[in-house]
Symmetry: C2
Subunit: 211 residues, 2 copies
């Protein structure tokens, strides 16, 4: 198959378990995948390392990155910038690694627009009831927060049609296997193999001419 | 995932090994896949059974099937009709089986036009050199036949862009596994899960309203 990696955007309802799936996927296939590291202007929390959880940069540095077109996408939350630096992603793709980008739906659509070959995966619990249970079971959110998350989930669900795959997280192990299988399969898409196909076609032409 | 089967058309260069791959796939996953059985007006050869290798029908019966729209696609070779009866395919799809249809590129494109949700797979040897070796190794064709097959392969290669996946048959076992994986993954495509997505969306809406 082709050697270049695929840029994979993963989104999903809060409570879908997408974080756990991606963590497991990266642990099981460390050579195959790389997790994109975001740049942010927020201060590091205890235990966070520059270049691991985030690239921590100043507001001036971030705005310079925007100006230079050094970010694939960026957004602002609560006075802080968050964005995806191009360099790291491109390096990894060139090395043949599939790069996983965990972002929400608005960012995902921006990335797809800029890079149409991006693969968009959406992770969902088996149903809304299960989603509610998972949010309640966390025990960290009060009822109002859960209601607001469910309402947010409903809004997010409007954008799902723009994604390529809709993955049900019913069982963690099976789901990790499915995500892996989907990304591997994508490498064989005709649209991702034009160079290879053109090469075989040229060879066939020569052989048919008896060369 | 959704329960309905997927109609899978498999084509490939003569010498690509697609027949062997499909045979193996069906043996390994007899409950998952069904092979579409063609109808033909040619006489059965010794050992061939009606309803197994082919549905053997008379010319009048075949032309009646055409008139009634009972065929997904059909073509005529050397005075005989060959076609794909709808009934059997639909039955199997309804039962949740993915139905494999082995036809050449012209038929494949006709099927895709009539049923846009059809999955088109194209099987190729690793390169033209390998294809030539395989044709020579068969020992059944003379040089002129091989040249004509290679020339035919080159013509067929023009239509590959209309396929969904381009699968390299380098190693039989790996290739069977890859085809299986591609078809399983395809079940999670957003375009194949509109009903499920709409269902989850409706549930979320109710929950968000606190019902």
């Amino acid at each position: 198959m082709n050697k270049r990696g695929i840029l994979v955007v993963v989104s999903g309802f809060s409570g879908s378990g997408k974080g756990t799936i991606m963590k497991q996927l990266l642990e099981e296939h460390a050579d195959t995948y790389a997790l994109s590291i975001s740049a942010t202007t927020r201060a590091p929390r205890p235990g966070e390392t520059h270049g691991k959880e985030y690239f921590f940069v100043s507001r001036e540095e971030f705005e310079e990155m925007i100006r230079q077109g050094a970010l694939i996408e960026h957004a602002q939350y609560v006075n802080n910038y968050y964005g995806t630096p191009k360099d790291y992603v491109y390096q990894q793709l060139e090395m043949g690694r599939d790069v996983i980008l965990e972002i929400e739906i608005q960012g995902a659509l921006k990335v797809k627009k800029a890079y149409p070959e991006t693969l968009l995966l959406f992770v969902s619990p088996p149903g809304a009831e299960e989603l509610k249970h998972r949010l309640v079971d966390r025990g960290t959110e009060d009822e109002a927060t859960i209601a607001s998350r469910l309402s947010r989930a409903w809004q997010e669900a409007q954008g799902v049609e723009n994604y390529d795959y809709f993955i049900i997280n019913d069982n963690l192990e099976e789901c990790v296997q499915e995500v892996h299988s989907i990304i591997r399969s994508e490498h064989a898409r005709v649209a991702r193999n034009h160079v290879l196909i053109e090469h075989i076609r040229a060879e066939l032409k020569n052989f048919a001419k008896g060369e």
